[in-house]
């Protein structure tokens, strides 16, 4: 008998505690990222996107900066002091009030952990009468956009341990963290004292599911209300399932061929132009991305007003012209159809990674298309970090990567700086390799000195033109975000600048 009791206790323990109850009325968000640590440096973007953290400003779908925890702001004449007037009656998730002192203390603690905001070179943050003032080392016009660095939200004093390290995420967003099951997911609950529109759905479960097919199965089974990054191949299946509908939204992301211009076969801009002309972007956009309009004839997508220019000469598919350029440059076809010049083979290995399922497929399409102009492309699929490693040690020939142009900071110049106007080593599969342009650096610097849109527009055009003419990277296709939205959910509007997914606006149908 006692043996049976032990056995029963063992079985009960195995099936008990961790299998928590499932609430039918909770919003189930399924995203491809798993949160590794509950801190803003690691998970800042997910925490903001899911409505947990906020900062002084926010963006609208046009990527304009709007008030959030600050009602308004002003800049000193020399551009060194930015003063923000805080919204009154804002309450943190722990019930304490937001004050200028708590906001200044939060920035002081988090700024050293910031990512892109470090470019703003903030010297000091001080609390005033209902205000917080930032003092910069030098004028920095896009400061408001950089303030949206998700690694630096406004956190309550209870978020920090005695050593100043973040021990909990207590912010002001429409949802607060009830519990975290890292890295699998977060359980969120409505912040009833939210200063803006209080959420309609009380509870949210955010699950990180990296495997795209598993996310598709979750959408097909009706087990997720908002499922992110559905692969193109699964769109029809999800739409037919009766459990969810696909919502597509263009996002500011380009798939591009990274070219090491220090390699002799890519050094001449004419060669890069020939490679670009040999790419049938429309075919790739239709067959791989499921939308002909995603063909990338320039670096910035049409939705990015002021950065995309309709009068640019498009990089249209033209094999005759590509072959003519190569002949003119002295690249001669061998018996095997592959070109050569001075003993150098017209060939290269393209590195790419499978985390975005379409990348290896596009690489194979490029392999077939570039063969038409006598280019021998080999493909290596590995981890995404292999590309920056190869960029930094000089072994990269070609890469196929992506760039989300206003990821985290809603101003493309933040990423243009790190990708095309820096001597720092590359850390992601996005930037130029072996290419340096003083004109680009000057344009970026001039842009950072002015906040006047009229002065900025020609600089924006200049930067886009340099990329179009010199092709340090060859744009292939843009991408769109594909969300599977469950039939019971309403109110979802995709954020084209990918800064947030306003969960507080969502509700379940009656």
């Amino acid at each position: 008998m006692p043996r049976n009791i032990w056995l029963a206790a063992l079985i009960a323990a195995m099936f008990a505690s961790p299998l928590s109850a499932f609430a039918q009325d909770e919003l189930r968000v399924v995203e491809p990222f798993q949160l590794q640590r509950l801190d803003t440096q690691t998970g800042g973007f997910q925490l903001r996107a899911n409505g947990v953290t906020e900062t002084l400003v926010q963006t609208n779908p046009e990527a304009s900066v709007l008030p959030a925890l600050a009602e308004r702001w002003e800049t000193s004449a020399d551009g060194l002091h930015w003063t923000f007037y805080l919204r009154p009656d804002v309450t943190f998730h722990d019930g304490t009030s937001m004050t200028p002192e708590t906001v200044a203390a939060s920035f002081k603690a988090l700024l050293p952990k910031g990512n892109l905001i470090k470019n703003a070179k903030i010297k000091d943050v001080t609390a005033g009468e209902g205000t917080v003032t930032f003092t910069l080392e030098q004028p920095f016009a896009p400061f408001l956009a950089y303030l949206l660095d998700p690694a630096v939200p406004v956190l309550a004093p209870s978020s920090f341990g005695p050593d100043g390290e973040v021990t909990a995420i207590v912010s002001t967003g429409p949802y607060r963290i009830e519990s975290a099951e890292l890295p699998q997911g977060l359980n969120l609950v409505r912040h009833d004292a939210y200063w803006g529109e209080v959420a309609k759905i009380e509870r949210v479960r955010v699950d990180g599911v990296p495997n795209p097919e598993t996310r598709v199965n979750i959408a097909l089974a009706g087990e997720g209300d908002l499922v992110l990054e559905i692969p193109t191949t699964a769109i029809a299946r999800v739409d037919r399932s009766g459990e969810a509908k696909i919502v597509r939204a263009p996002v500011p992301r380009v798939v591009m061929m990274l070219v090491n211009v220090k390699k002799p076969q890519f050094a001449d801009v004419g060669i890069r132009r020939a490679l670009s002309l040999a790419v049938n972007r429309e075919a790739i956009a239709v067959t791989v991305m499921g939308n002909a309009e995603l063909a990338a004839n320039q670096y910035f997508p049409p939705a990015m007003k002021g950065w995309h220019f309709d009068d640019f000469k498009p990089q249209t598919f033209n094999l005759t012209e590509a072959n003519r350029i190569l002949e003119e440059l002295g690249w001669v076809r061998g018996a095997d159809g592959i070109r050569e010049k001075d003993g150098i083979k017209f060939a290269g290995m393209m590195q790419t990674f499978p985390q975005r399922a379409y990348l290896p497929v596009i690489a194979e399409a490029l392999q077939a298309q570039l063969k038409e102009i006598g280019f021998d492309l080999t493909i290596q699929v590995g981890e995404s970090s292999l590309i920056p490693e190869a960029q930094n040690n000089g072994t990269l020939e070609l890469g196929l990567g992506i760039r989300t142009m206003i990821y985290q900071v809603p101003d493309p110049v933040a990423r243009l700086t790190t990708d095309f106007a820096t001597d720092e080593p590359s850390t992601d599969a996005t930037g130029a390799t072996g290419w340096k342009s003083e004109a680009m650096r000057e344009a970026v610097a001039a842009y950072n000195r002015t906040s006047d849109p009229a002065e900025r527009l020609p600089l924006q055009r200049k930067m886009a033109e340099i990329l179009q003419d010199e092709l340090p990277v060859i744009p292939i296709t843009f991408t769109d975000e594909k969300y599977a939205i469950s039939e019971r959910l309403e109110g979802f509007v995709a954020d084209p600048v990918m800064q947030t997914r306003p969960l507080n606006h969502l509700s379940f149908k009656e």
Partner: protein, 324 residues
């Protein structure tokens, strides 16, 4: 005989514990060597896993290189890890920052649950089918189970999983496709593993039963007037148990292989999932922690099987198995 067993068991346990420690350390050392043999920058890979590919700055990479002391010679890193393990500290994850012991404790709970259900499920099917097939060799059931076992054995685990998802999730809408929060989340991963385990088990059980049926003591039992079933239940079952228990222990290796696939497919946060992610992220402390855990568990299961075999057939002690 009883006295011999009493003396043999502590010796066997002691020997197996020493073996477990040796196996775990050798496995962890091999993992350490293999992870470092993979080309690429450890600090960059860790930074990408921790921060995401579009959020990794040169500063972050250097910070990780410094904080995790990745610039030191490998022998020094290994020596420090070994020294810490002796004190019971198996380190912190490079990616999550949490103690490896804490991470593995959480993950092993999930895996233990999955393994236990899969194993029980497989033998719930395999035992009656194997015994029935063995009692009537070359009969219809024997041939049918041989065919089914061959088919299931030839299918990779992920194929079985995808087939089950297609049927029970997408067609019948009976079960959830992935997750770990509700009891029904365990059904498909456990069934996927169970089907893979069951295929060879049925044949092993069947062969053990056939062998026992031909033994002289079974003939004697039948001469004494016992029917086939009763003779098998009284004399055959215990004897057939030894190879079955030994094989069941060996199946742990298959089960571990299955965890890697099944836990990824069903987004189930167990040891297999943790190890795959740790390998991709070059999270050396977690990889080595997993190796220690897998090594000691395997040795523990092997010891358990050994003790059960000695209990089933005390002649094994007489033959010197316990004293070696």
């Amino acid at each position: 005989m009883q006295r011999a067993v009493r003396h043999a068991i502590p010796r066997a346990v002691f020997r197996r514990v020493l073996e477990a420690i040796a196996v775990a350390l050798i496995l962890a050392t091999i993992c350490f060597a293999l992870v470092h043999a993979i080309p690429g920058d450890m600090a960059l890979r860790t930074a990408v896993s921790r921060l995401g590919v579009e959020n990794t700055s040169p500063g972050a990479v250097e910070q990780i290189r410094e904080s995790e002391m990745l610039s030191r010679p490998l022998i020094a890193q290994y020596g420090d890890w070994l020294g810490a393990v002796v004190t019971g500290d198996i380190g912190r994850s490079f990616v999550s920052g949490r103690p490896v012991a804490e991470e593995l404790l959480g993950a092993s709970g999930y895996t233990l649950r999955l393994a236990a259900i899969a194993w029980l499920l497989s033998y719930a099917f395999a035992l009656p089918l194997g015994i029935a097939a063995g009692l009537a060799p070359n009969g219809a059931l024997d041939r049918a189970t041989a065919l089914a076992a061959a088919a299931l054995s030839s299918l990779p685990t992920f194929m079985i999983g995808i087939a089950l998802i297609s049927v029970f999730v997408l067609s019948l809408d009976w079960l959830p496709p992935a997750g770990y929060r509700r009891p029904e989340h365990l059904v498909l991963p456990a069934l996927t593993l169970a089907l893979g385990l069951m295929a060879p088990s049925v044949r092993i059980i069947r062969n053990a039963v056939v062998e026992v049926q031909d033994a002289s003591y079974m003939t004697y039992a039948r001469i004494r007037g016992f029917g086939r079933i009763k003779a098998f239940a009284r004399h055959g079952l215990r004897n057939a148990g030894v190879p079955i228990v030994t094989f069941a222990a060996l199946q742990f290796a298959y089960l571990m292989d299955g965890f890697f696939v099944v836990e990824t497919l069903f987004n189930y946060p167990g040891i297999g999932d943790a190890m795959v992610k740790a390998l991709l992220a070059r999270d050396v402390p977690v990889v080595m922690g997993c190796a220690l855990l897998i090594g000691t568990t395997y040795a523990g299961i092997s010891l358990l099987a050994y003790l059960i075999c000695m209990a089933l057939d005390p002649r094994l002690v007489d033959e010197g198995h316990g004293s070696r």
